[in-house]
Each structure stands twice: as structure tokens, then as C-alpha cells.
């Protein structure tokens, strides 16, 4: 906020910072895609964001993070029960798969499929192992997405628009 007040002197500096932030943002997104963390679906998501829903991506991402945390907790709980109700576990997995696929979190989706297969086999050990994977992948993408949101906010704060919106 402070920077915006120093309008005259900081203008060039702001532009510089904005360019840097955009550069960072671009690199970040490229790495996300290169590492296979996100797929095209995320781009589609970004395209849905327009003037009528300016915070759409952020909203969805936060929703995803919040909802996924809940699901993972549910998963861990139901896997600890004895005997394990695999149907219930599978229902959670299906939810998680659906939301990760909606947001384009490719690798989370992949491990979800793995977990789903373990469920089909009624393999508790496998499920627990897969759940570890899911957790790890989710933490990874969560961090990355949060970073992305940070960068976006930074760009907006510097007076720019999120890069995906300038077409």
C-alpha cells in the first residue's frame, strides 16, 4: 500500500518490480507445468476468470486447498478404523480425484488413482502408502499454489493484472 502512495518517484521502480514479479510468476508457472504438477485444465480455469469474477482462480484454489485438507483428514481417519471401510475410503478418494482433476493438479490426480486401485484391492498397507504419496503431492502443490497466489497478489498490488488475463 505504501508504495502506491509514493506515486511520482516510485513509478519506474514499480514498473521494474512489476516486470520482475511477472517474470517470476511466468517462471513459476512454467516450472509447475514442466514438473507436471498442473495441466491444461488450470489454464482453462484461469480463462474463466474475468471482470465479473475477478478472484475466481484464487477462490477455487483456496477452496481446493481447504477441501483437500478436509478430505485427507477424512481419509486418514477412515484408514485407521478397523476394519477399514474401503467403500467409504473410495468415496473420499473419488472426491479428491474429482477436485484435483478440476483444478488440473495432475500428479495429485495420479496418486489418487493409485490410492483408488489399492482400495479396489482392499490393500490397507498399500492404501496407507498411497496416502503418504497423496499427502506429499498435495503439500507440494499446496505450497506451489500458495506461492502462485502470493505472486499474483504482488502483481496486482503493483498495479498489474494477472498475466493470464492480459490477452
Amino acid at each position: 500500500m505504501g508504495k502506491n502512495h509514493e506515486a511520482g518517484s516510485g513509478k519506474e521502480e514499480d514498473a521494474m518490480q512489476l516486470a520482475v514479479a511477472k517474470q517470476q510468476y511466468g517462471e513459476h508457472m512454467d516450472s509447475l507445468r514442466a514438473e507436471g504438477l498442473l495441466d491444461d485444465q488450470f489454464l482453462e480455469l484461469q480463462q474463466l476468470q474475468d471482470e465479473s469474477s475477478p478472484d475466481f482462480v484464487e477462490e477455487v484454489v483456496l477452496l481446493f486447498i481447504q477441501d483437500s485438507g478436509r478430505i485427507i483428514k477424512n481419509l486418514a481417519d477412515s484408514l485407521e478404523q478397523k476394519p477399514v471401510n474401503f467403500k467409504k475410503v473410495d468415496a473420499h478418494v473419488h472426491q479428491f480425484k474429482g477436485s484435483s482433476s478440476s483444478i488440473g493438479a495432475k500428479r495429485v490426480k495420479a496418486v489418487c488413482i493409485m490410492l483408488h486401485m489399492c482400495c479396489d484391492r482392499q490393500d490397507q498397507q498399500g492404501c496407507l502408502l498411497a496416502l503418504e504419496h497423496v499427502k506429499r503431492e498435495f503439500d507440494l502443490i499446496k505450497g506451489k499454489l500458495q506461492t502462485m497466489l502470493e505472486l499474483e497478489k504482488q502483481i496486482v498490488a503493483l498495479g498489474g493484472t494477472p498475466p493470464f488475463m492480459d490477452r
Partner: protein, 1010 residues
Amino acid sequence: MNAQMAGGGGDSLWFEHWHTKLFILWVFFMALVSLSVYLQMNAEMLVRRRDTLKTMCEGRARMLENQFLASMNHVRALTALFTTLHISKQIAMFNQETFSQYAESTAFERPLMSGVAYADRVLHEDRESFEMSHGWTIKEMFSKEKQQVFEEYAPATMSQDTVSYLTSLDMMSGQEDRENILRARASGKGALTNPFRLLESKHLGVVFTFAVYSIHLPPDATPDERVKATAGYLGGAFDVETLVENLLHGFPGSEMIAVNVYDITNELCPLVMYGHTNVSKSENTYVSSLDFGDPQRKHEMRCRYNEDALPPWTAISTSVGIFVIGFLVGHMLHASRNRIDKVEENCRMFKELKVLADEASVAKSQFLATVSHEIRTPMNGVLGMLQMLMDTRLDATQQDYARTAQASGKALITLINEVLDQAKIESGRLELEAVPFDLCAILDDVLSLFSGKSRDEGIELAVYISEKVPSILIGDPGRFRQIIINLVGNSIKFTERGHIFVCVHLSEDMEMVMEGSDYSGDDDDYSDWEVDGPGCVPLDMKCNQFNTLSGYETADDRNSWETFELLLAQEQHSYNPDHDDHHWNFSDGNDVVNLVVSVEDTGVGIPLHVQERVFTPFMQADSSTSRTYGGTGIGLSISKCLVELMSGKMRFVSRPKIGSTFTFTAKFQQMHNSVHESMLRNTNSVLQVRLLPTCFQGMQALVVDGRPVRSEVTRHHLRRLGVQVMLILSLSQSECSAAAFHSTVGGGIDMILVDKDAWGAGTGIRFPHMLCQSASEHLRQRNKYFASSVGLSHGFIAARLPKMMLVATSMTDNEHKLARENGFTDSVVIKPLRASMLSACLQQALGVWNRRDQGRELREGSRSLHKLLSGKRVLVVDDNPVNRRVAEGALLKYGAQVECVNSGRAAIVKLKPPHNFDACFMDVQMPEMDGFEATEIIRKAEMEASECMSGGILTKYHPVRIPILAMTADVIQATQAECLLCGMDGYVAKPFEEQQLYNAVAHFFEAGYV
């Protein structure tokens, strides 16, 4: 060991071999049965034999006895006579002579006696007087000398002739005779001697003696009185050996048995009386007692068979037979039981193997599913980008390229699915779809897939579809396409020159033509347009000797011009184009359409020795083939399976170095007449091919090509665009040039399409020049009569010419230049011909645009989607908050008013009529109540509501049925059929894809659903 036997092993061993044991027991049993049969039969036979022996023996004994007694009785009668004579002292009446005479004449009464003799009783004191009176001395019996002095004598005085030697012999000098005489006179009854050798004859015999008394004796006279009263003795000799033999020989079967007669007075030492062999008393002999009238002597007859009983052959053969039959029956049962066991064992093994195979198959399917999924994801990216590319402004060629790329990409996705389905084919679980599809569009697609390669290699690729084939068929487009891709792909792979020609006909027509057509005679009247005649002689170019698509020889002459012409005639004959646009009334009234599809190439052909295993999976012509051409060799086998699923047959004709023609038949349903084609195209997502542009309707074109088959193909494609076509096959004809002129200068012709290789490579390029020449020639001739003053420069004619287009397989830069110089200024159409591509080219050349402007519609997809959805109230049902938000966002973007709920129950509440939603997007898989269930309940509620309403207000003021679309991430899992079954109206894949969303939504909002 025993323990082992008692355990599980023993049980199974028993179960394995119980029938063997049974068999052995059975064999034993049968052996016993046959043995007992044998014994019984044998015993019966022995009994019978013994009975026979008994009968025979008894018969003989009784006969002998009778005859013996008869003889004895007679002797006794003689004795009585002598006694009577003695008493009356008239014995002198008898002398030797009379006695002998009498005896001789009564000999038949004594059948067993060799002779009788009478001996006087002479005491010693009377000896001399006796000797004196007879004139001979008494002689000793054996030495025949004078008898020594004894107390008394018994010299024979009278004798039968047969025993005359007895005369003067003292009968008491023989031991047996003496005893006999003494016994006879003491008892007063007849007495028999032991058997002994008779005098003279030396035969074995017995002597029978009676005493003759001189006084009448009372019956109770003492022996002493009898001795005193004795006057003489009468004796008879039984010559047993001879006479009995004669008697016995008279019996039947006398050779079979040996008969002996024994004197058993002394039981310890029986004396043989008759018989050659000694018959000992044993169980084989039969004994019957004899009574010869002498109570002091006992006789018996012993009989036995001469030979031992023959082995009982009947019994042996019967029992052996029974045993053999029993054995064979047992063996048969045992063998069949063994067989059954073996088969059961095999069956069990097969089942195990099948389970293994099934497991392997499941594993394979899983693998395939995973892999294909992984491929599909990046492909979706490619396709999406292509779609975006197509949304930008492109010229016709670019548009076509992009579309081709997209089609190829989609084909790849399809192929991946097909790989998945291959597993299904193998396990027989594949089911064909039955959805409407556009045959022409599919063939065009396939052609465009391969067009790149065919262009590179200069191979002609062409498709021809008979006009009688309905454009919309119901069947499985994916499978049909798969078959065509396989066949064409194969052909492309093995063809280096010439052509590949895909041809679709109705099988009725094909049969009619193949049977030797009835229409061969009147083939002139089918086409008013075609300019063809006897003067049309193909130019003698190198590759022109065969009248096929490209002039190369083909394996099957089905698509050569001769046959093709007949087919065209056949089709033309029964097809009346004025009747109805796209619907035929089939003569059989059936909706089934039988197609014959042939794919012809002029490639390397299939070597003769591998032709029979072409349809075997993973089998290529030989190993070098896969090295040279690649591929797995599974395509043909899949195609064949698919064709068979379409209740058709696939066959091929192939000649090495010449080419192959694959032909298959397939059955499809015809679209019902009441369903209009354009409606299908608008609403059905399967028929994504839009209608061809209609802007060419009524135009006329001239097709110039020296090759009739090819020109027909061009005509076919133009006709699909509604262009009327006239063919010119030859320039050497004056009629032809006249027609050309008429159409050019006289007007009416909008375009001229010339094949680049009309009369041989590159000759088509020079056509405009030739046309100008012949046209001006013609005009000049006409001018003679009409004396027109119109200037007839080439330039004038060229200016009046319609659009000139060159149709070519491939063009070099040089040829492009040459073509332009020759007047092909408008366009070059690159083969293979396809309706969409052709229309694009024509649009470019003619500068007309489709009234409906189909190309733009896609480009403005999102805008029209916006138009469709804006202001509509949409309910999104999804339990997953992220998905819900995303769907909401997407729909909001298109201007819809979105409301979200998170469960099926909430949706039911929201959608309880009356409500004001226009559509509902429902997630399929939700906890508690899934989408299908929720839809069913909503539908039920709507039904009730509409019933209530129709009772009161008749006007339809409220949407009774809200469109419900399923949202699903897994397109394979949720088939459309399943969605429709529970009352849904369609489905969209998650995440939303613009085109698909449009297709699904357009169905309701555009068709005036609401």
C-alpha cells in the same frame, strides 16, 4: 506306506481307479460264470452219456438173458422128453441119427448153443457091456485115449452134428463138466459151468447140463435118490464167444461200447465169459446183472465206452464265448469310463488354464487402460490447441490443414480406444453401437488421414459411394471407420504406384451385376449427360492398357470400367433422383442396408503361399514384410472380426506384383424416413459433421478426364455438393468439342475440372489450350452459316471460359507455373477428393460463400454458447466444492445464472415443480444419492405435477420437463445409454469442453425445447 494309502493319496487313488478295480472284478465274475456254465454243460453231457450207456447195456443184457433162457428152456424140454422116454423105457427110440436130426431141426430154438449132446450114465460094472454094445471104448476127453478106471462114466452117446466129436468121450473126465454133472443130477435142475475153453473150437463158453432120470421123482426127492435115479445127462454148449458176439453185433452202436460178461459166482475173482478186453468195474462202466437160470451161479454184464468222452467242445466254446463277450463289454465300459475320466481331467485343466488366461487378459486390459489413459491426456492438449488454432482466422487451405490435423488427432484417440477394444474382441465381449452416422463423412475422414502419404508418393486415392446408398446409416461408425482405416492403411503401406480405390455399393446391385446383368444392353440411356461413344478410344499411353482408376492392372476386375459401368447402369436404373432427396423405398420394405465395400490397390500384392493366413492375428506375409513395412499384422484380423460382427463377410483377391482387392459386406440399418437428416446433424453429437454447403446447388460443371472410372469419382464428389456434372472423356471427338463449345460460349457451365493426367501424365495441363482451339474451330464453322461478325480471338474465348480447375494428385512448382500459364488460374484441387475440401476449393475459386456460413459458427462457438446460455437459470449439483465452483465459473462465463447445491437431495428440493430453472447439470457420482437416482425422483415428481396440471389448465405454460445433463469425469463409465435410461438428457465430460458443452446444450435451447 499304508498310512499314506489311508491318507488323501489313497482316496484319490481309489477314486482314480475304482473303475479299474470294478473291471477286474467283472472279469473275474465273468470267468466264474463261464466256468460254471462249462461245468454244468459238461455234467449234463456226462449224465446223458451214462444214460445212453445204461440203455444200451441193459438192452444187451436183457436180450442175452432172454436168448440164454430160451436156449436153456429148450434143453430142459429135451431133457423132459428124454426123462419121459426113460420112464417108459423107450429110450432106444433115439439113436445117434434121430437125435442128431432132431437136434439139427430144433437148433433155431437154441440160438446161443453151438450144440447139444446126450451122455449115458455108465457105472464101472456096466462099462464092458456098454462098450461092447456100442462098439467103442470110453475115451478120456482131452487125450482121446481109453478112459482109466473110475467108479462111473458119462460117455456121450448122441450128439448134434456140430459137436459130433463128443461121441464116446467121457464127459466126467473134464473138471468143469464133471462138477456140472454132479451138481445137475443132485439138484435135478440145470447147472452151468464156469466159463472155460470149449473142446475143439477152443472158444470161450459154458456148458449147460441137465440130468435125465429113469424114474419119476417127486419134487422133494433127496439128492441121493436123484443120483440113484439118474440115467444120463443132456448138455448143451454155449459158444459164448461166437454166438453172443453175433447177437451183440446185431445191436446198433456196438462199436461204441465194449461189453464183457463175467461169471461172478466167486466175487473175488470174476471170470470172463465174454469180451475181448478186460472191463474193470469202475465208474465209467455200467453193470447190469444177468440171470441165466442157474441160481448157483451169478453173472453180470459190464459195459463201457470204447473211447473216452470227447472233450466237450460245445461247452468249451459256449463258455469261452460268454467270457469273451463279458470281457469285451467290461472292457468297453472300462475304456469309456477311462475316456470320460481323461476328458474330465482335460476339462479341469482347461478350466484352470482359462482362469489363468482370463487373469492375464484382465491384467492386459488394465495395462491397456492405464497406458491409453496416459496417452489420451497429452493428446487432449494437442486437440485443444488445434481447436484454438481453428478459431483464429485462417484461409481455406489452412483451415483444411488444421481440420485434418484435428481429425488425425481424434483418429489417434479413437485408435487408442480401439486398442482397448481389441481385448474385447478377443474375449468376444465387443458389442456394436447402433447410432446414426454419415458414411461419406467417415470415408472422407479416412481419406484425409492418408492423403499426406498418398500425395507424397503420387498414389491416387479415391472414394466412390453409390448414390443408392443412404447418406445416413445406423450402425457403428467407429468400427466401420476402423475397418476402412485398416484396409486403406494396409494398401497405402504396400502400394508404391497406381491407385487405391474405396468403393461402396449396395450388395443387391453388386449381385445383380455379378450374375450377368440384364442391363448390359441398354447402358446408353442411363445418362443423358455423358458424352461417350464408339469414337472414344483411349490414347495409347504406357499405363493405359487397363481401364481402371489409374490405368494399372488390378487383381480383381470389379472396379475396372467395364464392371463399373454396369454397376452405374444398375444404380441409375433403379434410382429415380426426382423421387425423394435422401430416402429410398427399398423394394423389400426392410430397413436393412447391405453394403459391399471394396478397397482396391495396385501394390505388391500378397504372395500366394501366405494368402490363406492373411487373417491370422500377428501374421504378416513374411518376416521381411514387417522389416520393410512395419506394423503388427493384427489389423486385418480385427477387421475381419468386426465385419463378421456386422454380419458380413470379408474376402480378398490378390495377385503378386499386381495388387490386392479386399472386399467386405456389412449390414446397417436405414434411418427411418420420418427423421430428417438436418435434424440429426443439429442435435446428435455423433453426427458432428455439418451439412455440406448448399451454395453450389444447381451449378453445372464439366469434368474432363480420359479415364472413365476416375471421372465418375470426380462426378460423384461434385454431385454431393449439388453440382450437375457433364463428362468429357475424349477430345478427339467433334461432338465433344461441340458440347464443350455450347457449354462455354452458350453459357450454363460454371466450372471445368480437368484431371492433370487426363490422357497420360501431365496432359491435362494443356487442356485449355486445346479447348480454345477446338472452340474457335467450331465457331468458325458455324460462322460460315451465320456470318457473324464476332471477333474470335483466343483472348475472347479465354475470357468467356468458366472457372478452370486442375485436379491433381501432386503438383511440382514447375507444374504449378505451367498450369497457370495454360489458363488454370483459378484453383488447383489436390486429390484425394473430399467433399469438404472440394467445397473449400470451389468456394475459393468461385468466390461464393455458403449462405449458412458453417465455418464461422464453430469459430464463434463461445459466443453462440453465450447466446444460448445467457440469462438461463442453471442448477449445478455436485458434492465436490471445487468441481462445483469450477462448473459454476464456466457457466457464469457464458452468461448463465447459476445456483449450486451440494447433494442430490437438495437438487430434488430445488427442482420440485413449480420452479424456474431452465437446466440442471448433475454430477453422477455423489455420496448418499447419486445423480441417476436423483434424476429418477425428479422425473417422477415432474410426472405427477404435469398430471395435476393437465387436469386443470390445458395450456402448456410451464416447462414440464427440465433438461438434466450428467456431469462425469469418466466418459467410458457413464455411457449415454445409461444416462438416457434414467431420464437424463445427455452428458458432458468434466471438465467442460466448449464444443461438447455446446453440442449438449444446443440440443435443448436451440431446438426450442424451452
